[in-house]
């Protein structure tokens, strides 16, 4: 089943010669948990060289970057916003911003935290604008269902959202911005602390501190 999943994620059919190796590696290391599985695959794909050849210093074409990371970004946005329309919009914006900024990305830097940084900044903007806009435009019956993605006053009414998940979402939404983003990157995207640090733009220690503060608060309320 796992083999099928790897195939499904395009790793198996990727022309990159490291792909099969990664496939095998993944199969060995994966734990039984579904989310863990997905993260590991994403992580390993992110580790692959992103320059075509070291000597030329020519970065990969943007399409390839997109192909490699679109699923992961979409999953993160969907989990962070809890809502399809927002996720789709944010997804498009993320890639447009990424395309515009791509030439300025140093060829040797890591591409994954960079993409997440764009995604969370857009989430933040949208939450801010959404809070402003929601007062005027949104009709009563769907008051908080759009626009307020990663925002503080999000109340989920989405499909199949279990009570625990809703509760937890609300608790996360009430955290201060930095802590909320750190926790989401850690547990929804599965980034490690170095990656979180470079995505948020802080030191590794403060990324760690933000996550642990947030966890402390969440545990107290749990």
């Amino acid at each position: 089943m796992l083999g099928a999943r790897i195939e499904f994620f395009g790793v198996g059919s990727d022309p990159d010669p490291t792909a099969t190796r990664i496939g095998r590696l993944t199969e060995d290391r994966l734990s039984s948990k579904k989310t863990r599985e997905l993260f590991t695959i994403d992580r390993l794909r992110g580790f692959r060289r992103y320059m075509t050849r070291e000597k030329l210093q020519v970065p990969l074409p943007f399409e390839q970057i997109m192909q490699r990371h679109e699923r992961e970004i979409m999953r993160y946005l969907l989990r962070a916003s809890g809502n399809r329309e927002d996720a789709a919009d944010l997804f498009q914006d993320t890639w447009l911003h990424a395309y515009r900024a791509y030439p300025r990305l140093q060829p040797k830097s890591d591409i994954r935290p960079w993409l997440y940084a764009i995604a969370i900044n857009l989430c933040r903007n949208r939450a801010r604008d959404g809070a402003r806009r929601a007062r005027v435009i949104v009709p009563d019956n769907m008051e908080f269902s759009t626009g307020n993605t990663a925002g503080r006053h999000y109340r989920s009414r989405d499909e199949n959202d279990g009570y625990a998940a809703v509760h937890l979402r609300e608790m996360i939404a009430d955290l201060p911005t930095k802590q909320r983003e750190a926790v989401q990157l850690r547990y929804l995207a599965g980034l490690d602390y170095a990656e979180i640090a470079s995505a948020i733009g802080c030191s590794e220690e403060s990324a760690r501190a933000n996550v642990s503060q947030a966890m402390k608060k969440l545990k107290a309320m749990w």
Partner: protein, 267 residues
């Protein structure tokens, strides 16, 4: 249930099929939006030539970048500049011709360099003017930095011309090796003096390796009068050095449409 487990399961209500379906819907939207802001494409590749390995970039309009590979520090900066204007694709086949042309050119084929030149990477209008003018300097002739500056109306900008030559994105094709000091020394070259000497030699100049300078045996021609003279002609004292070309020999001068001086009678 532990809170970490619950955190990990947030959003699990979205099955992978949902993600797949959303991706399928979003892809065409993203593609459409991206199409409007696309940068033009450029093919990048390495070619081997008698002057060493070259990194070459070709756009639809012609050759954009030609970089001597042994200069690795500069390479990152050049690629960085290139990325701002173009989407890069590695493609050896598109650039292979350039290596062949350079090889033929150094072997003595005067018309070997056929690619058009795309000066997109030259941002400054002064630099672009200088490089445009420079392309009019024929094979077998050289100008001084000062004279080139004067040709674009800035006679006191020899230094700026020098910098322009240093930053020239397309050496060999835009002949920045044909620019020398006013006193006859051959000046510098971004790819190293040895390459400049090699290029000038294949264009007919006789140069001494140890002390490379344009010899007195070459003739110089005046741009205004279209007359060429020996190096030691007595009229030399009167002419404006900013209006002077040097030619490898009389044949080159004649080919550029000049007549011999009646005082010094160059052969």
């Amino acid at each position: 249930m532990k809170i970490e487990t619950s955190l990990g399961s947030i959003g699990n209500e979205f099955a992978e099929e949902t993600i797949e379906e959303l991706l399928n819907r979003s892809r065409s939207r993203v593609d459409k939006a991206l199409k409007r802001m696309r940068r033009p494409q450029a093919a990048v590749g390495l070619v081997k030539s008698p002057l060493g390995e070259l990194l070459v970039a070709m756009s639809a309009r012609g050759i954009v970048l030609n970089h001597y590979m042994d200069d690795a520090g500069d390479l990152a900066a050049k690629i960085g500049k290139l990325r701002l204007e173009f989407d890069l694709v590695e493609d050896q086949r598109a650039v292979k011709e350039v290596g062949e042309e350079v090889r033929l050119y150094l072997a003595g084929d005067a018309k070997a360099l056929r690619q058009k030149v795309d000066l997109t990477l030259v941002a400054h209008s002064f630099q672009r003017k200088v490089l445009d003018k420079l392309q009019a300097v024929p094979r077998g002739a050289v100008v001084s930095y000062r004279a080139l500056g004067a040709a674009v109306g800035a006679a006191s900008s020899a230094r700026a011309v020098g910098n322009t030559m240093h930053d020239n994105p397309v050496p060999i094709y835009v002949p920045c090796h044909r620019v020398i000091s006013s006193d006859g020394r051959i000046g510098g070259y971004a790819g190293g003096i040895a390459r400049k000497i090699q290029l000038l030699r294949c264009e007919g100049f006789q140069l001494d390796n140890a002390k490379p300078r344009i010899l007195d045996s070459v003739v110089w021609g005046h741009k205004g009068t279209k007359i060429y003279c020996r190096g030691n002609c007595r009229t030399a004292a009167r002419v404006d050095p900013a209006r002077v070309f040097f030619f490898a020999d009389s044949r080159q001068a004649k080919r550029a449409g000049m007549r011999p001086c009646k005082i010094c009678r160059p052969v």
